[in-house]
Amino acid sequence: MNLLVSAMALLMACAAFVIYDLATFRDVITRNLSVQAQMLGSNSVAAIMFADPNSAESTLAALREAPTVVAAAVYSGDGKMFAAYRRDRAVPVPMTAETVGNELERHWYSAGTLKLVRRIFFQGQPMGFIFIESDLEALNSRLRRYLFISALVLLGSMAAASAASAALTDAVVKPISALAEAARAVALRKDCPVRVDTTGPLNELAMMGDAFNNMLDQIERRDRELLAARDHLELRVEQRTAELAAANKELESFSYSVSHDLRAPLRSIDGFSQALLEDYGDKFDAEARGHFERIRAATRRMGVLIDDLLNLAQVTRADMRREPVDLSAIARSVAADIRKSDGERRVECVIGDGIEAEGDPRLLRVVMDNLLRNAWKYTSKHPTARIEFGQTQMNGGRPVLFVRDDGAGFDPAYAGKLFGAFQRLHGAADFPGTGVGLATVHRILQRHGGRIWAEAEVEKGATFYFVV
């Protein structure tokens, strides 16, 4: 295919050259004929002037030496033929001069010959005309010669090009194609069974083939290593998961049973204390009754602590559901509950509208409950309080939820301890609490893939930011 295109290009180039050359050659022939006409004309002047046709004819007869000239003739000023020359007896010569109009000379091609007529001048004055006719044999033989040479050149170069192309194909094109094919096969099938043949005459191609094969070896080895690593990892993950599950289970059952086991004695203490108060209350003095009250208060506190612990444990165990949850509604409901239990205080509650999240409704309720109750609790020392639950934009443009109060706040230096279990930044005398609430909130948000952090100033309030 390429060979054909090259041949065509070569043919067109040859044709262009030949055409140009022949055109130029035609001009040369015409110019030569013109020169001959001029010389013959000037040599015929005297003959015309002195009415000597023989002299003119012998001048023209010299054209026998020019084999391409077919005929020639001299015409006197009135255009009548004066003398003529014919190469062959039968060649016709025009009897009167063709008019050249206002020009000095005119030439034209007809019947396969070039004809030329020129005015004869002598000492600046027109004398007559000279006609000369030449065949185009020189041109034709040149054309034939060129065609022959072009054909030879064309065939020769095509033969040479074919031979070169064949040699090149074997040495270069085939190995490269094989390499490309192998690369394509590897990419398609995503495994590396094929290898490239690195025999062949060219060193560079063999090196390339070797490099390719090496690369495939390396790829195969890495694939194997990757698979082995992955299997190993999966094994470890399974092990870890099993260990983790076992540990969790232990922990859960531990906390559960501990909580329950702890409750029993508590119930005893509380119950018997109450019984004592009721049955023997009148036998005790005020101080003794005070002691009992304190026993009962303490047991109640412990009960709350155990409940909270149980809650915390449950949070870890419970299955999580994921569904759209209307946090605004939950917040309002929680606020209403708190107000019901502690309605005396003047607290302004601002709940944002339309705040939603994706998560477990029960667990999220626990979150709102803890956060709002905390806010309520830590503003209790102030005469008025403002608690706000809303949504805001953080620097990255992501929406963040917050619960803000203007209560006691905390020292931000201890913010790290805030979410640890049993960590309290305030003494029990100031604010009652078990230190488990925020840990629970933290655990729940963690399970949802969210997070929580807080900002505060002492006595200026605290803001808890969280993302579900």
Partner: protein
């Protein structure tokens, strides 16, 4: 000027036109034209060119008549107008460039040529054997055609250069020194 064109044509055109009238141009009509044509093929030496006109003279009995004046009408050579003069004595021909010596002067040819010696004049004549007797151009008749012979030596002796084209159409070219002296 295209007058020479007409004069060249006259030779042959007269054949056609005259055929409708009298027949052919007369012998002396042709010779008159030739007399002028000779001037186009002859080179004169430098010193002769100071003349104001180019004179063609007839010495002796004039055989041309009006034909000569007709042939020369309107012609010019080298910017000078051509005139015809008739003289009866050789001495009167001084200043002529071309001199036609009539057959009537055949008896005094030698003296005439002696007068014209080195005068840089082109001598033309019908006198028999003129070219062998020291003349430069001699008219001859071949059949009904007017031809001429040329004596190169005589011409060279007068300092005249005859063009090779002229020699080509001459029937004979002689290189003969003046017979006698």
């Amino acid at each position: 000027m295209r007058r020479a064109f007409i004069s060249a044509v006259a030779t042959l055109a007269l054949v056609a036109s005259a055929a409708a009238q009298v027949g052919r141009p007369s012998e002396y009509q042709v010779k008159a034209v030739y007399l002028f044509n000779f001037s186009r093929f002859v080179g004169w030496p430098q010193q002769v060119s100071t003349d104001s006109a180019f004179a063609i003279c007839v010495l002796g009995r004039d055989p041309f008549g009006a034909a000569l004046d007709a042939a020369l009408a309107g012609e010019s050579v080298g910017g000078k107008s051509v005139v015809a003069r008739r003289v009866s004595q050789a001495e009167e021909a001084a200043g002529c460039r071309i001199v036609y010596i009539s057959t009537s002067e055949e008896g005094r040819l030698k003296e005439i040529l002696a007068v014209f010696d080195r005068a840089s004049m082109l001598t033309v004549s019908d006198i028999p054997r003129f070219s062998q007797r020291g003349g430069m151009i001699q008219f001859v008749l071949q059949g009904d055609r007017v031809r001429f012979e040329v004596n190169l030596t005589s011409a060279a002796g007068a300092g005249l250069r005859l063009s090779a084209d002229l020699l080509k159409v001459a029937t004979a070219v002689r290189r003969v020194a003046q017979a006698g002296s």
